[in-house]
């Protein structure tokens, strides 16, 4: 008998003012659209505050991975505060160093960059692990 495997929620910080936010957004979109399109769902982070109860239930309904662009962890903190504790907290800085000081480059982030691809693969691995471990 096939066991139920939940979709995994991905929440990117998408911070506008630093490159890390754009990297987190690009990597998350790569997983959602190309690497694990049938296994993942997302929601806009600000909807936890601006939205309604159905939106705030997101991380209660889905095991959730937050992908932050810097060590301020806005996505992880916002998800925990307004919805539920994320299952995995990822930080782009662990792959790129301090990407937020390089603001002149923030608008140049390309979805095809090696860094984005590496982070997207890591997100996909976490997705697979969460689904494998689901009981």
């Amino acid at each position: 008998m096939m066991s139920f495997k939940p979709k995994v929620g991905l929440i990117s910080c998408s911070g506008e003012a630093c490159s890390g936010g754009n990297i987190s957004r690009a990597a998350t979109l790569e997983v959602l659209h190309h690497l694990r399109p049938n296994e993942t769902v997302t929601i806009c982070l600000p909807l936890f505050l601006a939205g309604d109860d159905a939106e705030r239930d997101f991380a209660k309904n889905f095991p959730t991975i937050t992908i932050d662009g810097c060590n301020k962890f806005c996505a992880a903190k916002g998800t925990a505060k307004y919805s539920s504790e994320p299952a995995v907290r990822m930080n782009v800085e662990e792959y790129s160093g301090d990407s937020c000081t390089d603001s002149e480059e923030r608008w140049k982030i390309l979805k095809s960059s090696d860094l984005v691809a590496d982070i997207a693969q890591s997100i996909a691995s976490h997705v697979d692990k969460l689904r494998e471990d689901w009981k």
Binding site: S14, E16, R25, P46, L47, F48, L49, C74, E104
Partner: protein, 127 residues
């Protein structure tokens, strides 16, 4: 003092990408002497410096859908946007400027971002 432009951080729709494109045109590429942006998620995290910025500056919000997250979070932080732009409403006034996808907004999306930049500049963003 620089004016602040804040897009919605939307990740599900092409309109969210258009909002970011318009923001970077103003804050990074074409008018960085007059505009800057701040992280909306940081505002959501009650970051004091971000809250002070939106309370003391002229803030333009660009939202990708009627939920208006950017506008709502600025107000939650104690600011009052001088202009609240909703991208689909801008498209309604110029329907051929339709964006393609969230990953690639295409020429139509870039023209729509142009429309938003012009609206903000004509509203006083030129001062």
């Amino acid at each position: 003092m620089k004016k602040i432009v804040i897009p919605c951080s939307g990740i599900g729709k092409a309109f969210g990408t258009v909002a970011r494109e318009a923001t970077y045109r103003l804050a990074d590429l074409e008018h960085s002497d007059r505009f800057k942006t701040i992280c909306l998620p940081l505002l959501m995290s009650d970051d004091e410096e971000s809250k002070q910025s939106v309370m003391k500056s002229d803030v333009y919000t660009i939202d990708g859908c009627p939920k208006k997250c950017a506008s709502a979070l600025v107000k939650h932080a104690g600011g009052i946007p001088v202009m609240e732009i909703v991208v689909p409403k801008v498209l309604a006034a110029n329907k051929e400027h339709k964006p393609e996808t969230v990953l690639e907004i295409g020429n139509g999306g870039r023209l729509l971002a142009d429309d938003i930049v012009k609206i903000i500049l004509s509203h006083g963003g030129n001062e």
